[in-house]
Amino acid sequence: MFTRPNISYAVNKVCQFMHAPTKSHWVAIKLILRYLKATSFFGLYRTHASSLSLHGVINVDWVESIDDRKSIGGYIVFLGTTLIL
């Protein structure tokens, strides 16, 4: 997860079924692994930034999920131009 925030949503979803996984969850996990295979050279870049200012961005989809009626929110924090959180 350290360098791959792009799979964090998918991994978090399958983790919710760890106590009683079914075949469909195994299919989902295999899909994540196959995605990793395609993107194994993906990573995070930290680029030179002249200003190290801190700023954050959030987004929430108010009760958008039709499966569980839950809201999904997220936030990211940048130091300069680099994602740190």
């Binding site: 997860m1 350290f2 360098t3 791959r4 792009n6 799979i7 949503y9 998918a10 979803k13 989902a28 295999k30 899909l31 994540i32 692994l33 196959r34 995605y35 990793l36 295979k37 395609a38 993107t39 194994s40 050279f41 993906f42 990573g43 995070l44 870049y45 930290r46 680029t47 030179h48 930034a49 002249s50 190290l52 924090v77 130091l79 300069g80 680099t82 994602l83 740190i84 959180l85």
Partner: protein, 208 residues
Amino acid sequence: MSQTKQDCQHHFSLCFLIIVFVTSPSTVGLVLTIVVSKGWQIQQLDVHNMFLNSSLREVAYMAQPTDIIDSPLSTHVCRLHNSLYGLKQASRAWYTYLSDFLLTIGFRASKVDTSLFILTINHDVFYLLVYVDDILFTGNNSALIQRLITLLSSKFKLRDLGNAHYFLGVEVTLTSMRLMLIQHKYVLDILCCAGMSSYNPVDTPASV
């Protein structure tokens, strides 16, 4: 007897509240971003037999090792002076030992991440990140960094791995203007472990 056993259990439950050096990804990210922006170098150090370095504050005993039992005193047990691998206190003893030493030479511990130590001398700033026995060390004065590494290695048996290339399973490539972090090798290891090395790659991590 039951009293003693309870004491032991209480003692062990305390030991589970172990402070271990586990750096959070955001701390590493923060420090690395500063490194790139300031154009610093990162040194990676590795501590040899870290648990054996530290002395033990608690009284702990162990049975005599099966190979070297002192036959006239075969019912005796050994009292531990130093920490051993596998001991519940081992990682905490190591934490205390290292952080005490770093604090005596002028470092201060970060208030939010116990594995980050900061040293400021006049206009020089140094950051020391510890992940169990792996250490990342950076700062704006490379001559002083080398002197501090010498100082550290007088206390612990250290291996200087030079500029950081591979830390916590992350491949680190540092050029003058940017730093790249990838986990290519780790992905291959997972695929190999799952027996999926020959599977076809896909473009999305989940079905849409």
